[in-house]
Symmetry: C2
Subunit: 200 residues, 2 copies
DNA sequence: CACGTTCTGTACCAAGCGGTAAGCTGACTC
DNA sequence: GAGTCAGCTTACCGCTTGGTACAGAACGTG
């Protein structure tokens, strides 16, 4: 914008990344402003001047989470076959859910599946994010049907839901301490189901 | 206990059921004492005299949830084959997650996957409950291996984890509004994977 | 009937919550 | 170097949180 006035003493994206981590670890309601500002290294008024409110900060954080984390899983859908896309999606999810450089699990679920009545909007935002990912999955699978890669009578929404639900369950497991190998072994089993779909 | 003194004006199990529903809908931290006492129809001091603290109330509520809800899914494991047990487990879970007489989803997950630091114990209690169900599943599958129903080289823990993770994912979906039929269609796909295990 | 006992209702507590007003600090322009 | 504007710091706001002290009400017992 402008260079007049005292320059900002922090990098907006950097402090946003710290906020992502706090929300990820403690959820929306569990992340108090004191913990947030402590982790972000800025004071309350700076937070409010920059992001507006706790809820707006969360939305920014959630958007950034999608850019930096969910994008990888979505990119995995660029595989030549439906099977390969699902495998890549599930494997990269499992990797992301158990990566060492950030909290275990998934912000879309840790963030606040259940909230107090006044924060019900947060649950909706998270659900919308998950639904968008599921839609991307369904679109990829629909293309596979068009290309003859999957049978015409494939229940595409159900298959997308199955894959997404498994990934969400893995997120729950990861948050409880499951290892990467444990999740990948579960993926192995899921892929057996997908394998049966290719040969009608 | 004793009949001396003023008799209690409420039924302990009845008010506990109301507490279960509030925790289920709003999670541990999202369920304030005001909302809890309002739904339970008792005053704060009665709640504390009867249950001790909010956390102890939650533990009682979670135990009751297991008795009344999770027990059905566990009972589904009493089927003659591993396939039938898994199918019954997943189908009864899907039914329970979308029943009309209580909130959608699962208290074990809605309750508080992520919490503020001082309530981290709640997440652990919930995780332990889920782990217990997964163990019951694994035990049933292990028996199936012993009986020759599943191949000797079956990765039993992974299969149990797969089934449990899918069920948890369905809980996430149900909380976001998924219908019973949508979940059952996802179960249909999962069962394809299980079907391939029976014929080695 | 008065007693001890136990529950209920009101009214309250300290602490933490999300959010903000006001003044100081620092970097730029003129 | 004075003026200006944005950001930082401190201290505070009203409100809600989980939890409790205290007095009154309802019972069984002497």
């Amino acid at each position: 914008m402008s260079t007049i006035g005292r320059p900002r003493a922090f990098d907006e994206e950097a402090v946003l990344d710290r906020a992502v981590e706090v929300f990820w670890r403690h959820g929306y309601e569990g992340a108090s402003l004191s913990v947030l500002t402590g982790a972000m290294g800025i004071n309350r008024p700076s937070l409010y001047a920059t992001f507006g409110s706790k809820e707006q900060l969360f939305q920014r954080a959630f958007a950034r989470y999608h850019e930096t984390q969910v994008a990888a899983a979505r990119a995995a859908l660029d595989q030549p076959s439906a099977y390969a896309s699902i495998e890549a999606f599930l494997r990269s999810s499992a990797d992301g859910l158990t990566a060492a450089d950030h909290p275990a699990g998934c912000l879309s679920i840790q963030g606040g599946l259940a909230c107090s009545p006044e924060n019900a909007g947060i649950s909706k935002i998270l659900a919308a994010g998950r639904a968008a990912t599921e839609s991307a999955l369904a679109e990829r699978l629909s293309r596979a049907v068009d290309e003859g890669d999957l049978p015409d009578d494939t229940d595409v929404p159900a298959l997308a839901r199955f894959v997404m639900a498994l990934s969400e369950g893995h997120a729950v497991h990861a948050a409880a301490g499951a290892s990467r190998e444990e999740l990948q072994a579960s993926v192995d089993i899921a892929l057996r189901a997908v394998g049966t779909l290719h040969r009608p």
